[in-house]
Structure formats: structure tokens, C-alpha cells
């Protein structure tokens, strides 16, 4: 049997390496024959890691075990590998299995199934068929036409039609052109690119080869975040293997087409997701954007025509070539075709990666696939598009997830991060959080972005500290519009979105902070009041732990907090065993 242990970053973080080592050791110690322990990428159900799939000798999945820590390995080895009976209690539950069943996997087709470090497995799954088809039977124009039929749009954020960019780069005559992959997944809260690179690196390489052929480039560059060491390692292995098989290099598959790829590790700058900033960074400069035009398709990397697509966009391409553009366009809505991968995180019960056809209502993604809120709290809002996006409130839960509909709400699809928030999340604090992020990440070129975001942040900090003033909301709105208009690149143009959407949908929360000095989500510390209720049994623990000695009371009697001394650190609430501390 084949024992497949999920070893993406999430799996490894939960101890998958130890689990795999335990399997190997037990199989070796017992001298069992015919079993192979192998690794795979992330299957998307991060909340169930470490995941162990056992495949029978017929290659069919016979059991999917979840949350397999090393101590559970013995049972599986004894009962399943030796005894032939699956260990029922460790199997994935039918409800969790539904997380996977409701999805349509195009981008993630191989993630969690193949070993990303073995090119043979990718080939056996139909890999590099698209490259063969393109290089032997299609002209570059036909490739672009197929992508046009598919309706594929950029998955990195802006949603620009992929064929259009390719066509523009193709039509710009030049001796040298570049095909770049933007793997600088900067949205804090999105991780689909990491997962694809870790779980199916060849799909991205193949997409780049096909794109390179379409635009007439011989060189590809992958600009990947330095924070993703595992993704870089797997890409390097994949590139080496692809070269050995002549899928990369000179005269690929005897077609006369030369194409090779190299990796450039980014050094951490959110603004480098912007094309011209990314190019500056590739050239070893500070990653600062410049005015467009000229567009990268005209003058990009080293002033040569350059095309930049996102990881997920590239991963779609081989599937489109093999199955046809129409098959892809059969999924999704009129203007947003195909599937999209979303990263579900935040206060959601089942966090992970989900791939669904575009146009599914938000509520379905969050409740039917994501299982709803942790601790069954009330769903409040979902942040889409990260720091460039916005908060979509519960009442707009029926909004279909496609580019146009999401943009209408004031958010953006972005790279597909969905941070789900419940009633304990303060929306003013969320706006402050994102502004803090964009303020730090502003490259400083445009005054409105550099200074404007800082001023907005100062106002938001004041409000969350309980020092908000009449007129703050209006001032924020005015500044937001100015920052949008006065910034050259996407970072500044979208930075105010989280503030604008939270004001639009949660104005009452701003007003509560400013006029009533209350945070209804009980999250902004400065606005909290801690009191001790009747449930207090007088155990004296809180009084002992209070760092400022604000709590007094005799043993076995209800204690009292001196509000003039209390620094609202919440230590008493943390240590109380009787839930006798009320935060309001």
C-alpha cells in the first residue's frame, strides 16, 4: 500500500514530518513488505492536518485519515496495513469530506494527490501533455485564442484578461522577451499560491512554458517570496527534473523552442505585487512602481516586452490547453469564467483552501464548505481582497463570488483571501489593522499614499483608543478619496478600501467608538470595562495576578476592581476559573 502524508507548510507545522517518520520506522522495524511512505502537497483541508491517505495496490484511495499525530500511527499500521481493516475512528468524517466534495478542482487538481518532488507522478497525471500539444500542434496565435475562449482572467487581483496581456506582449516585436510569474503572494491572509507551488510546482512551470511560447519569450523568471522556503525548494527540484526531461532548456521536445526559467527570491515588500515595482525589484532596485504606459508588455524587464501573470493563472493554463477553453468557460458566470481558489481563514470552523466555480454565493462558500463560524458565533462580515479589498457584511451574503459582483460591494476578489469575522471582531480595529499594514508597505513615492495613509491611521488609532472626535468619520472619508485619487499605483489607490467599506456598512460601530466610547465587539482594550460578577467565589487568584493591584477582596468573598487603577490588560479574565469577569 502507499501511505501518503500531506507535507505542505501547514501539514509540517502540525507535525506531519514526525508522522511520516513514524510510519517509516514502524514499517522498517516490523519488516513489512510492499508499503511505501510518500509525501504530497496540501489537499486544502488545513484544519485536519496532518492528513494521511492510504492507497491500495490498485491505486485507489482506500482511507483518508485526519489529525494523525505520531502516537496514532501504531493503530493504523497494526489494524490497516497488517490487519487490512481501516481504523474507523481516525477516518475523515462525512461532514468534513463534504468540504472536498463540493469543490471543483482545476488549479488544485494535483495538490494532495501527487508527490510534487517526482516529475513522473505529474506526468502520469497527464502533466506536460499540454506542452506537447502546444509545441507540436498549435501556433502561438492558436494558444492565445484558446486562452481567450476560456475567458481566463488574472487571478492575482486585478482580473485582467490573460489572453489580452499575452497578445500585447506577442505583438511587441523584440529580440528578447520575458515571461514572469508573480509568486510574491503579499496579501496577509491568502496562501493559495504557496500551496500550489508546494503541491504542484510543475503545473506552474508548464503554464509558463506555454505562455512563453505564446508571447515568444525564451526566458522565464519566478519572483517568489523569501518567506516561502519550501515553495522555493520544491520549485528548484521541479525545474531540475523538467530540464532533465527536456521540458525546459534548448529545443524543447524537439520543437525548436527554447525556454528556461530561473527563480528570483523577493525580499519582502507588498508593493512588489504591482507589475512595475516587481520589475524594478527584479532589476535589483528598490521596488517602486512607475507610471504606465509604457506597459510591461511594451517596456518591462530590462526595457524588453515582459508579461507577468500570477501563480494561479499559470496553473490553470495546462488544464485549459488539454481540456479546451470551452470546458473551462463552462464553469463560472458570464464575465467571470472558470474556478477560483479561496483561502478561508479567520473565525471560520473549517479553514483551508477551497476551489469553487465563480459565481457561487458567498454564504455557500462560508457555511456549506467552510462549516460556518468557530464556536457557532454569529457571522458578521468577510474581508475579501486583503488590504486592498473591503469588508462585505452578513446582509450581502448572497453576493455571487465573481469579479463584478464583489467589486460592486466595495471589496475586490483580489487574490482570493477570505478572512471571516464574527461578532467579536471590531470593524474599526480591522480598518486600523489594514491601514497600519498599507502605511508600512507604502513605498513613499506618492505623497497622498505616504502621508495620507499615516494620517488616516492616526485617526483610526485615536478612535480605537477612545479619543475619537466629532467629524472624524467625515475626515476619514475625505482623506480616503484623496489617497485614492492621488496615488499612482494600485497600493495607494486601494489602501482606503477597508476604511471606506467598514464606514459604509458598519458606521454604527464607528459612532459607538466616537460618541459612546464603546466597542460593541468588546475588542478595543481602551474602551473596555472589566467588572466582577456574582459568580465570583473569592478564590483571590485574580487579585494575586493583577499586575497593578487593582483588585481587592477577602477570601471567599466577591472581589472588586478599582476602575481608576485598572489598565484593562485582561489578566483577571484570563486566570478566572469561574467566568466571573465581565468585559463590557
Amino acid at each position: 500500500m502507499r501511505i501518503l502524508v500531506g507535507q505542505g507548510s501547514c501539514g509540517i507545522a502540525t507535525g506531519a514530518k514526525k508522522t511520516a517518520a513514524e510510519f517509516e520506522q514502524q514499517i522498517a522495524t516490523l519488516g513489512l513488505k510492499g508499503h511505501v511512505v510518500d509525501k504530497t502537497g496540501c489537499v486544502g483541508v488545513c484544519f485536519l492536518e496532518p492528513i494521511v491517505d492510504v492507497y491500495g495496490d490498485d491505486g485507489i484511495l482506500s482511507a483518508r485519515y485526519v489529525r494523525i499525530q505520531p502516537e496514532k500511527v501504531t493503530d493504523i499500521v497494526q489494524k490497516h496495513l497488517i490487519g487490512g481493516e481501516p481504523v474507523e475512528s481516525y477516518l475523515i468524517s462525512p461532514e468534513d469530506d463534504a468540504f472536498l466534495k463540493k469543490q471543483v478542482k482545476i488549479v488544485l487538481r494535483n495538490c494532495g494527490i501527487i508527490n510534487p518532488e517526482h516529475i513522473e507522478e505529474y506526468i502520469a497525471a497527464g502533466g506536460y501533455e499540454a506542452t506537447r500539444k502546444v509545441l507540436t500542434a498549435m501556433t502561438p496565435e492558436e494558444v492565445i485564442e484558446e486562452v481567450k475562449v476560456s475567458g481566463l482572467r488574472g487571478r492575482g487581483g486585478a482580473g485582467f484578461p490573460t489572453w489580452f496581456k499575452w497578445d500585447a506582449a506577442r505583438k511587441n516585436e523584440s529580440d528578447i522577451k520575458y515571461m514572469c510569474c508573480n509568486a510574491d503572494e503579499g496579501d496577509p491572509g491568502a496562501f493559495m499560491d504557496r500551496s500550489v507551488l508546494e503541491g504542484d510546482p510543475h503545473a506552474v512551470l508548464e503554464g509558463m512554458i506555454i505562455g512563453g511560447y505564446a508571447i515568444g519569450a525564451a526566458e522565464g523568471v519566478i519572483y517568489v517570496r523569501a518567506e516561502y522556503p519550501l515553495a522555493i525548494a520544491r520549485l528548484e527540484i521541479a525545474m531540475k527534473q523538467a530540464r532533465e526531461k527536456n521540458f525546459l532548456g534548448k529545443n524543447i521536445m524537439g520543437s525548436g523552442f527554447d525556454f528556461d526559467i530561473r527563480i528570483k527570491a523577493g525580499a519582502g515588500a507588498f508593493v512588489c505585487g504591482e507589475e512595475t515595482a516587481l520589475i524594478a525589484s527584479l532589476e535589483g532596485e528598490r521596488g517602486m512602481p512607475r507610471l504606465k504606459p509604457p506597459f510591461p508588455a511594451q517596456k518591462g524587464f530590462w526595457q524588453k516586452p515582459t508579461n507577468i501573470n500570477n501563480v494561479e493563472t499559470f496553473a490553470n493554463v495546462p488544464w485549459i490547453i488539454v481540456n479546451g477553453g470551452e470546458a473551462f468557460a463552462a464553469y463560472g458566470t458570464e464575465k467571470s469564467k472558470g474556478t477560483k481558489v479561496f483561502a478561508l481563514a479567520g473565525k471560520i470552523k473549517k479553514g483551508g483552501l477551497v476551489e469553487v466555480p465563480m459565481g457561487l454565493p458567498l454564504r455557500d462558500v462560508i457555511f456549506e464548505i467552510g462549516g460556518g463560524m468557530k464556536n457557532d458565533r454569529k457571522f458578521k462580515a468577510v474581508q475579501m481582497g486583503g488590504p486592498s479589498g473591503g469588508c462585505i457584511p452578513e446582509e450581502l451574503g448572497d453576493t455571487p463570488v465573481d469579479y463584478e459582483s464583489i467589486t460592486k460591494t466595495g471589496a475586490i476578489v483580489g487574490s482570493g483571501g477570505m478572512i471571516v469575522m464574527d461578532e467579536t471582531t471590531c470593524m474599526v480595529d480591522m480598518a486600523r489593522y489594514f491601514l497600519d499594514f498599507t502605511r508600512k508597505e507604502s513605498c513613499g513615492k506618492c505623497t497622498y499614499c505616504r502621508v495620507g495613509t499615516k494620517r488616516m491611521l492616526e485617526i483610526l488609532e485615536r478612535i480605537t483608543r477612545g479619543e475619537g472626535k466629532d467629524g472624524d468619520i467625515e475626515l476619514l472619508t475625505e482623506l480616503a478619496e484623496k489617497v485614492k485619487d492621488g496615488s499612482m499605483c494600485g497600493l495607494g489607490q486601494t489602501a482606503p478600501n477597508p476604511v471606506l467599506t467598514t464606514i459604509r456598512y458598519f458606521r454604527n460601530e464607528y459612532e459607538d467608538h466616537i460618541y459612546r466610547k464603546k466597542c460593541t465587539a468588546h475588542s478595543c482594550k481602551a474602551l473596555l470595562t472589566f467588572t466582577i460578577t456574582d459568580a465570583c467565589v473569592g478564590c483571590t487568584l485574580c487579585a494575586k495576578k493583577c499586575p497593578v493591584g487593582a483588585i481587592s477582596g477577602k477570601i471567599k468573598e466577591r472581589h472588586l476592581i478599582d476602575q481608576s487603577k485598572c489598565i484593562k490588560c485582561g489578566k483577571c479574565e484570563e486566570v478566572c476559573k469561574f467566568s466571573a469577569i465581565l468585559r463590557d
Partner: protein, 174 residues
């Protein structure tokens, strides 16, 4: 990093380890970021001495190197401790209480973001996102032994993890 020549007592910096890197990349246009990354891998940070040395070998002005080094969050101009705590402050971690985790680290080690403990064992760095959002809150600890990621953190589990590393550190020293 000081002079290692036999009998030489001078304090001139010695960048022998860096030379092969510069030989490889100095002639390739656009390699400054790569050079700085490799330099940081060797020395743990970018000292002013090393910036001047790179400038000498590549012909790139020190001001420009400094400009690039301060633009990107990855580069450090000060030395770091043996264990680099990369505390994730991404959106999912923020929503799930990353601030409380930061407090716990501060309580345990008495250092703030960007600071190093007196014993040189830990440096705390807040990072934008580690991409393990469904395990939030998350931190990664980088050391000579490799990278280790810790997920679903609580104030208690962070402290336990840090104590464990402290214990290991003191055992090695003995």
C-alpha cells in the same frame, strides 16, 4: 569577521566567505538583492563594513545599497539572536489574537518587535504573513537547526515552546 591572516593583529574586516558570492554575481546586472540575501545568510545581518565591501567589489554606491537594504523587510542592519522568532501578524492571525501571542513573547523574553534578548538567544520579528492562515495564530522560529513552525498558538503554548528552546540552548552550552 576580522582579519584572519597569520600574525596580523589588525582589525580590518575579512570577508573571505563572501568573495565567491561576489565573484559569481558582481558581473550580473540586477543581482544586488541576491547578493544582499546571500550576505545576510552568511553573516546574519548587513553591517556597514560589509555594505562598503560590496560597494567596492560591485561599483554600486553604498548609498544605493543602503537604500535597497532598508526598502525590503527581509534585510537587517543589526545582528540577530540564535533563534529568530518570526511572529505572524497576518490578517487571520490578527483576527485570532496575534497581539496576545506577542504579549506572551514579551512577557517571557522581555523583548519587543525588532529586539534581541541580552543572552543573544532570541530575536523577535513581526512579519506580515507566513501563509499558514488556517493554523492562526502562527509563528516560525528560524535557527541553525532549521525552521520550525508553530500553529494554533495560545499564550501558554508559546511560552512552553520558548522555554523548551531555552532549555535546549543551555544544554548545548554546557
Amino acid at each position: 569577521m576580522t582579519c584572519k591572516k597569520d600574525g596580523c593583529g589588525c582589525n580590518a574586516p575579512d570577508f573571505a566567505e563572501l568573495s565567491p558570492v561576489l565573484e559569481k554575481y558582481a558581473g550580473i546586472p540586477g543581482s544586488l538583492i541576491t547578493i544582499l540575501q546571500k550576505t545576510q545568510d552568511i553573516y546574519g545581518y548587513l553591517s556597514m563594513d560589509v555594505i562598503h565591501f560590496i560597494s567596492e567589489k560591485t561599483g554600486i554606491k553604498p548609498a544605493k545599497i543602503y537604500g535597497v537594504a532598508t526598502f525590503y523587510t527581509q534585510f537587517r542592519l543589526k545582528p540577530i539572536g540564535k533563534n529568530l522568532i518570526m511572529l505572524c501578524k497576518g490578517t487571520a492571525c490578527h483576527v485570532n489574537g496575534a497581539d496576545a501571542i506577542e504579549e506572551a513573547v514579551m512577557e517571557e523574553l522581555s523583548i519587543k518587535d525588532g529586539e534581541t534578548t541580552e543572552d543573544g538567544l532570541f530575536t523577535l520579528n513581526n512579519v506580515a504573513c507566513l501563509g499558514c492562515c488556517s493554523l492562526a495564530p502562527v509563528m516560525m522560529i528560524k535557527s541553525a537547526d532549521g525552521d520550525e513552525t508553530f500553529g494554533n498558538l495560545t499564550k501558554e503554548s508559546v511560552k512552553l515552546a520558548l522555554r523548551e528552546i531555552k532549555k535546549r540552548g543551555s544544554e548545548v552550552n554546557r
